[in-house]
C-alpha cells in the first residue's frame, strides 16, 4: 500500500485545494482522505514558535518540525518548515507541512518514524499543481539515521549505558493507557530526532509505533503527544525539562535527565546495544516484542535465539521454557532447536524443575510431529536429569501427565533406560509408587533386574501401605512388585507381624490377595492368616468360600491359622471336614472342633451328623474334647455297646433301665435303633421299663418298629403289643400302639389271619375283637377296638 500525501500552507484561493484563502490544503495525492486532513490539522501541523515570531527572528532560526501520530486506523507523519510572513499579509506564521498517511504499519518496514526526519521525499515548497503523488514504500531514510550512526551517537553520550537506559525507559512509560509524557530538549533538531529514533528502535515495533511524537513544541506541558521535543533556541525561557513534574524530562544537550528509573528491560537492551552488534540487538528486541511470554522471559529467549547467549539457573530455563511453549509454527521452525539447546546446556541448574522441559513437549510434538528426534532429546534430558537428582525425579514423576512416545525406541541398554533405573533407585520408598506408575508410562524396556532394589523397597513400602493395593497394575513390573510384596508378607506372617500390618489384615485390606490363585495354590501361611482374620467378619457365603479355599490347599493342621486365636463356629468345622474329612482323625482337631460343638450341645441342637462327629472325635481323642462333648461321646459309646449286647442277646435285664439314663440328645437321635433293638431283644420287661422311663417319647419309633416287625413275626409282635396294651403306658402311647394289631390285620391275607388267629385265639380275647371290628368295616369301629382293648385291660 502506498502512502497518501497532503500539503498544507498559506495560499491564495486559486492555489488551494478547496478554493479558500489563508491556511489551506494546497495539494493532495489521489488516495488522500478527508480523515487524513483532520489528523494532519490536529496532530501534525507545523506550529511556529511564538517567541521567535515576537522577536521577529529570521526564518533560518525556526527549527523544522517533525511529528508522528498513531491513530486507531492508521499511521501518519509530517515534516514542516517555517516560511516566514503570510503572503500579502505582512503578518508572521506562514509554514508548509507535508503529511504522509498509511493504514498499514508494515509500510514502514521496521523503520521508526523518527528515522524519516530529513529524508529526501519530504516536500518543502508550495506545489505548482494541486496534486501530489502517492509515495510507494519503503521510505528511505537519510544516512544520518542509519543504525551505525545512531550507535555511534549513543556510545558517545556521557555515561552512555545509563543514559540510553533512561531514554528507553522514558519511552516505555509513554506507551499504554496510563502513560507519562517524555519531554526531550535539544538544540539540534536532527540530534533530537536521532535520539527519538534510537530510543524507539530499542522498543518493539508495535509499541514503538504507538508512541506519537512531535518536534518541536513551545508548550511541552500542554502537548498531547507521548514524546515531545523542545528547541531551546526557539524559546525565550526554555524550560529545564529535567525538573518538570510528572514527566520524563531528558536534556539531550547535556545528557541530564529527570528522575527516570531505568527499567529492567531498558537496561537489558541498552547494554547489549552499546556493547554488542546493534543489528542483532534490534532483531532480538523485535523478537522479544513478538513473543507471547512474560517480558523478562521474552528477553531471555530473544537473547538466546538471536544473540546466542547462554542460560544460567533454573529460573531462566523455566522462563525460557514458558515462552517456548507458546511458539507458533514459524517461531518453532526458526528458534526451537537453539532454545532447547540453550536449555539443555544451561549452567547452575540446581533449582531446575522438570516443568521447564515438560511444558515444551507439547509444542515440540505439535510442530515436530508425534515423534521426533528433538522430542526424544527433550524426553531423554528429563529422564537423565531425574537420574541425577532425587528432587527433580520426584517432581517429574508427580507432575508429569505427558504421554511419552519415542521416535527411536530405546533398548534396555540405552542411556535413557538406564536413567530410569537410576532415577527410581534414587527415590525414597514413599515416592516409588508414583515413580513406578510414571515409569510404566514411559514405554521403555527397563529390565526388572536393574530395578531389583527399587522393586524390593516398593514391596516393603506397600506392605505397610495396603491402600496402594490395586495400583500395582499401573506400575512398571507390577507383577514382580506383587510377588515381592507377597513374599514379604509371608515372611512376616511366619516371623512376626508388625502392628500396622496385622491391623490391615484384620481390617480386610489384604483380603483381595485371597482372590489370587497362585497365592492360594502356593500353600503358604499368608492365605490362611488372612482368611483366618477375615472369616469371622465375612458373610456365610464368603466364609464357606474362604474355608473351602484354604482347606483345599492346606496340609495337615492347616486349620490352625484359621482358628488360632478363636473358637471356630460349628459350621466352619463342618465345612472344613467337608473339604478335608481326614482331619477328623487328627488328634489336634478335637480341641477346636469340640469347642465348636459345645454350644450345640448346650442348646440341645445336635443332629445326627454332629453326633457322628462327636463319636468320631471321641474315638480319636476323648480327652482332648470339652467335658460336655466328651460326655456325649462316652454315653453314645455305651449305648452302642448295650445295643450290641441286645442284638447278641447278651444283655442284662437291667439294660433298659441303663438306656433310660442316657442323655436325651442321644436318645432322640438313636431312638429308632434303641426301640428296634429292644423289640428284637424280645424281653417285654426290659422294653416296658425303657418305655415307661425314657426321657424322650419313643412312641413314634415304637409303633414303627412294631408295624415293621409284625410283617415278619406277626404272632410274637401281636403278643408284645397286646402285652403293652395291657401294661401301664402313657395315654397317647397306648392309643397309637393299639392301632398296630388292626393295621396288621388289615394288611394281612385271610390265610395269614387264619394262621395267626389259630395261634392267638385261645389266649388273647383281643384277637376276637379285631375280627369283629374288621367285619363291620367301619373305620370308627377300629378306633373303638383300641378303646375296647383298653377297657379290657382296665377290667383285668
Amino acid at each position: 500500500m502506498s502512502f497518501r500525501a497532503l500539503l498544507y500552507t498559506d495560499c491564495r484561493a486559486d492555489e488551494s485545494l478547496r478554493g479558500g484563502t489563508g491556511y489551506q490544503f494546497q495539494a493532495a495525492s489521489p488516495a488522500a482522505q478527508p480523515a487524513d486532513e483532520m489528523v494532519m490539522m490536529q496532530e501534525l501541523m507545523y506550529r511556529p514558535s511564538p517567541d521567535l515570531m515576537a522577536r521577529e527572528a529570521p526564518v533560518s532560526e525556526y527549527p523544522p518540525s517533525f511529528a508522528y501520530f498513531r491513530s486507531v486506523d492508521g499511521y501518519a507523519m509530517a515534516a514542516g518548515i517555517y516560511l516566514g510572513k503570510v503572503s500579502g499579509d505582512g503578518r508572521q506564521g506562514n509554514q508548509i507541512t507535508h503529511g504522509l498517511f498509511t493504514d498499514e504499519g508494515d509500510d514502514l518496514a521496521g523503520t521508526r518514524p523518527a528515522q524519516l526526519f530529513g529524508a529526501d521525499f519530504w516536500v518543502r515548497e508550495k506545489q505548482p499543481s494541486k496534486q501530489l503523488p502517492d509515495i510507494e514504500p519503503p521510505l528511505l531514510y537519510d544516512d544520518e539515521f542509519d543504525l551505525p550512526v545512531l550507535h555511534k551517537l549513543a556510545t558517545c553520550a556521557a555515561d552512555a549505558e545509563q543514559f540510553l537506559g533512561k531514554l528507553v525507559s522514558a519511552f516505555e512509560r509513554g506507551a499504554g493507557d496510563t502513560w507519562m509524557k517524555t519531554i526531550v530538549s535539544c538544540s539540534q533538531p536532527q540530534t533530537a530526532l536521532q535520539w527519538i529514533a534510537l530510543g524507539t528502535l530499542l522498543i518493539p515495533t508495535e509499541q514503538a509505533l504507538s508512541l506519537s511524537f512531535r518536534a518541536f513544541v513551545s508548550d511541552p506541558a500542554l502537548a498531547t503527544q507521548r514524546i515531545v521535543a523542545v528547541h531551546p533556541p526557539s524559546l525565550n525561557k526554555p524550560p529545564d525539562v529535567t525538573t518538570l513534574p510528572a514527566v520524563s524530562g531528558i536534556d539531550l544537550d547535556t545528557y541530564r535527565t529527570g528522575a527516570i528509573e531505568v527499567s529492567e528491560r531498558a537496561a537489558f537492551w541498552a547494554g547489549r546495544f552499546l556493547h554488542g552488534d546493534p543489528y542483532e540487538v534490534l532483531d532480538a528486541v523485535e523478537l522479544a516484542g513478538r513473543l507471547q511470554g512474560s517480558e523478562y522471559a521474552n528477553r531471555l529467549v530473544a537473547a538466546v535465539a538471536v544473540l546466542g547467549e547462554p542460560l544460567s539457573g533454573g529460573a531462566q530455563v523455566d522462563a525460557v521454557g514458558q515462552v517456548l511453549a507458546t511458539f507458533d509454527a514459524d517461531e518453532y521452525e526458526e528458534f526451537a532447536e537453539q532454545v532447547v539447546d540453550a536449555m539443555e546446556h544451561a549452567r547452575d541448574l540446581g533449582d531446575l524443575a522438570p516443568g521447564s522441559f515438560l511444558r515444551i513437549l507439547p509444542v515440540v510434538q505439535r510442530f515436530g510431529g508425534q515423534t521426533s528426534a528433538l522430542l526424544d532429546r527433550v524426553q531423554t534430558n528429563l529422564l537423565v536429569r531425574a537420574s541425577a537428582s532425587a528432587d527433580f525425579a520426584r517432581s517429574l514423576f508427580v507432575d508429569s501427565v505427558w504421554r511419552w512416545t519415542w521416535h527411536q525406541q530405546p533398548t534396555d541398554s540405552s542411556p535413557v533406560a538406564r536413567a530410569v533405573s537410576a532415577a527410581l533407585g534414587r527415590l525414597e520408598s514413599d515416592q516409588l509408587p508414583v515413580a513406578f506408575e510414571f515409569a510404566a508410562r514411559l514405554g521403555l524396556p527397563v529390565e526388572p533386574a536393574t530395578l531389583r532394589d527399587a522393586i524390593q523397597r516398593l514391596a516393603e513400602h506397600w506392605i505397610h501401605h495396603p491402600e496402594l493395593s490395586g495400583r500395582q497394575r499401573t506400575w512398571l513390573h507390577g507383577d514382580q512388585v506383587l510377588d515381592a510384596m507377597v513374599q514379604g508378607l509371608q515372611h512376616q506372617v511366619v516371623t512376626e507381624l508388625p502392628g500396622d500390618v496385622e491391623a490391615a489384615i484384620e481390617n480386610g485390606q489384604w483380603d483381595w490377595l485371597l482372590d489370587i490363585d497362585w497365592i492360594i495354590r502356593g500353600g503358604g501361611p499368608l492365605a490362611p492368616e488372612i482368611a483366618g482374620r477375615s472369616i469371622p467378619k465375612a458373610d456365610a457365603q464368603r466364609q464357606e468360600h474362604l474355608i473351602r479355599l484354604i482347606a483345599t490347599s492346606a496340609g495337615p493342621g492347616g486349620w490352625q491359622p484359621l482358628w488360632r486365636n478363636r473358637t471356630p463356629g460349628l459350621s466352619e468345622v463342618l465345612l472344613w471336614l467337608d473339604a478335608r474329612p481326614a482331619d477328623v482323625s487328627d488328634p489336634r482337631f478335637a480341641d477346636p472342633a469340640g469347642k465348636a460343638i459345645v454350644p450345640a450341645i448346650e442348646s440341645g441342637r445336635v443332629r445326627a451328623d454332629l453326633l457322628r462327629l462327636i463319636r468320631d472325635l471321641y474315638a480319636v481323642s476323648p480327652d482332648a474334647l470339652p467335658r460336655q462333648v466328651a460326655r456325649i461321646g462316652r454315653q453314645d459309646a455305651e449305648v452302642s455297646r448295650t445295643l450290641s449286647s441286645m442284638r447278641g442277646h447278651r444283655a442284662e435285664p437291667t439294660a433298659g433301665a441303663a438306656l433310660v439314663a442316657t442323655d436325651p440328645i442321644i436318645l432322640k437321635l438313636r431312638m429308632t435303633e434303641i426301640i428296634r433293638s429292644l423289640a428284637d431283644f424280645g424281653d417285654f420287661e426290659t422294653l416296658l421299663a425303657f418305655l415307661q422311663k425314657s426321657a424322650v417319647d419313643p412312641t413314634e419309633q415304637l409303633v414303627k418298629a412294631l408295624d415293621a416287625r409284625a410283617q415278619t413275626f406277626p404272632v410274637e409282635t401281636l403278643e408284645i403289643t397286646f402285652c403293652l396294651l395291657r401294661a401301664k403306658l402313657p395315654k397317647s402311647m397306648h392309643k397309637q400302639v393299639s392301632a398296630v394289631p388292626l393295621r396288621w390285620y388289615e394288611s394281612a391275607t385271610n390265610e395269614h389271619r387264619d394262621n395267626v388267629g389259630r395261634k392267638l385265639d385261645r389266649e388273647w380275647p383281643e384277637w376276637g375283637e379285631i375280627e369283629v371290628q374288621y367285619e363291620r368295616r367301619n373305620e370308627s369301629a377300629f378306633k373303638k377296638v383300641g378303646r375296647l382293648f383298653g377297657a379290657r385291660e382296665r377290667e383285668r
Binding site: 498559506d10 491564495r12 484561493a13 478547496r18 479558500g20 484563502t21 489563508g22 491556511y23 489551506q24 483532520m38 490539522m41 490536529q42 501541523m45 506550529r47 511556529p48 511564538p50 515570531m53 515576537a54 521577529e56 510572513k85 503570510v86 503572503s87 500579502g88 499579509d89 505582512g90 503578518r91 508572521q92 506564521g93 506562514n94 496510563t178 502513560w179 507519562m180 509524557k181 508548550d219 506541558a221 500542554l222 502537548a223 498531547t224 503527544q225 513534574p245 510528572a246 514527566v247
Partner: protein
Amino acid sequence: MKFLAEAACPYCYHKVRLTSLMFRCSGRQAPGRQPCGQAVDPRQVEYLQNATPTLPSFPATAKVYSTGQRAVCPDCGGSTGTRVCSVCHSVLPSTFGDEKSPMFGMVGVKGSGKTVYLTVLIHELTTSIRRRFGASIHTIGESPMIGKVKQLRETINSGGALPGSTTVAAVEKKYPIVLEWRQEKEGLLKRTSVSSTILSFYDTAGEDLQTQNSTSSLAYLAAADGLIVLLDPFQFPENIQRGRSMGVSEDSLDTPAIDVISRITELLREADSVKASKRIKRPLALVVSKIDAFFDDVPSDHAIRKSPPKLPAFDEAESADLHNHVEALIDEWGGEDVLSLLRTNYDNYRFFAASALGAQPDYRAGRADSQGLRPHRVAEPLLWLMANDKIIAKQG
C-alpha cells in the same frame, strides 16, 4: 444569589449540572496515606488538547449544593475544595454557579483583527473598564492564553510585530480566556451585595469562518450567550481598493462581509432551531474594526470618533446613535446587503465602531504603530452584551 441547576463550563462550553461537579485532589494527603501523583488527564486531552500532568479529579460522594463545599480524595484521603468541570476537568472559578456566567464568542474573517481586538479588550477590561465601573475584573484559571495575550499586548504596545495569523481551531485547540467581574450591586431595600459574573472569551481563526463546514465545527459559537462579530471595513465593496492601496493582504480582502454574516446566521439558526419565518433572538454586536482608518473621512464630532461615556453604566442612547451612524457608513460602503440580512434575520443587533490599535499599522510590514496602543471604543460591544444580560446597568 440565584441558584442555578446547571451552567456552561467556561472552558469547554458544555453545560454541567451544578450538583454533579467534580473535585481535583489538593495533593495534600491524609496522614499515613500515599500522596496522589500528577498524571495526564485524558479528559483534558480530549476536550482541551491539554496533556499537562495534573492531580486526579474525582466525583464528590455527596451532591454539591453550594460553593465552598469540600470533598475527600478517595485515593489519598486529603481534603480539597477545588471544583472542576465534570466534562473537561478544568478548574472552575470559586463563584461558578452563583450567578449567570455568560460566554461571549468572537468571530470575524481572516485579518479582521480578532486577536488584536481580544488582546486589547482583555487589557481594557482589567484597567479602564474596571475603574469606570468600580468593579474587580481579573483573569482567572489556568488558560495558557492569558500569558500569550499579555505577551502580544506588550509586543504591539512597543510597536512590534502584529500577531501571526491565528491557527485554525482544528490545528491548535485554544483555551478561552476567563475573567471574573465582581461588582457591588444595590438590591431591594437599598441593601448592597457583591455580584460575580464569569466572562469567557474565545479567539478564533478567520479560516474557521471561510467554509460552512468549519463554521459548523465551532460548537462554542452555539453555546455563546452573545457574539461579537468583527467586520473588516476593507472587506466592504467600496473599501477594497482603498485597502489594497494601504497594503492590506489580498487574502483579507477575499471574503466579503456578507459571507461572514451569512454563515454565522446559518449557524445560529441551526443552533437555536429558529424557523425561517422567525428572527434570531441572540444578541449580535457587530464591530467595524480598524475604524481609525476612516477617521479622516468623517467630521471630528462624528459619533464614531467620540470617546465612550465614562459613566458606570451602558449609555443606550449614545450607543443607538452610534449604531445609526455606523449603519449609514456601511450602507455608504456598499454593505446594503449586510444591513438587509441583519434586519431580516435578527431581533437584537447593534453596530459598533472600534479600533484596537488606535492607529493604522504598517500592513505590509505587519508592524504596529510605533506610538503604541491607543484603543478606541473596544469595550463598548461587550458592555452592550452585558447590559442586555442585565449584568451592568443601562442608561438613557
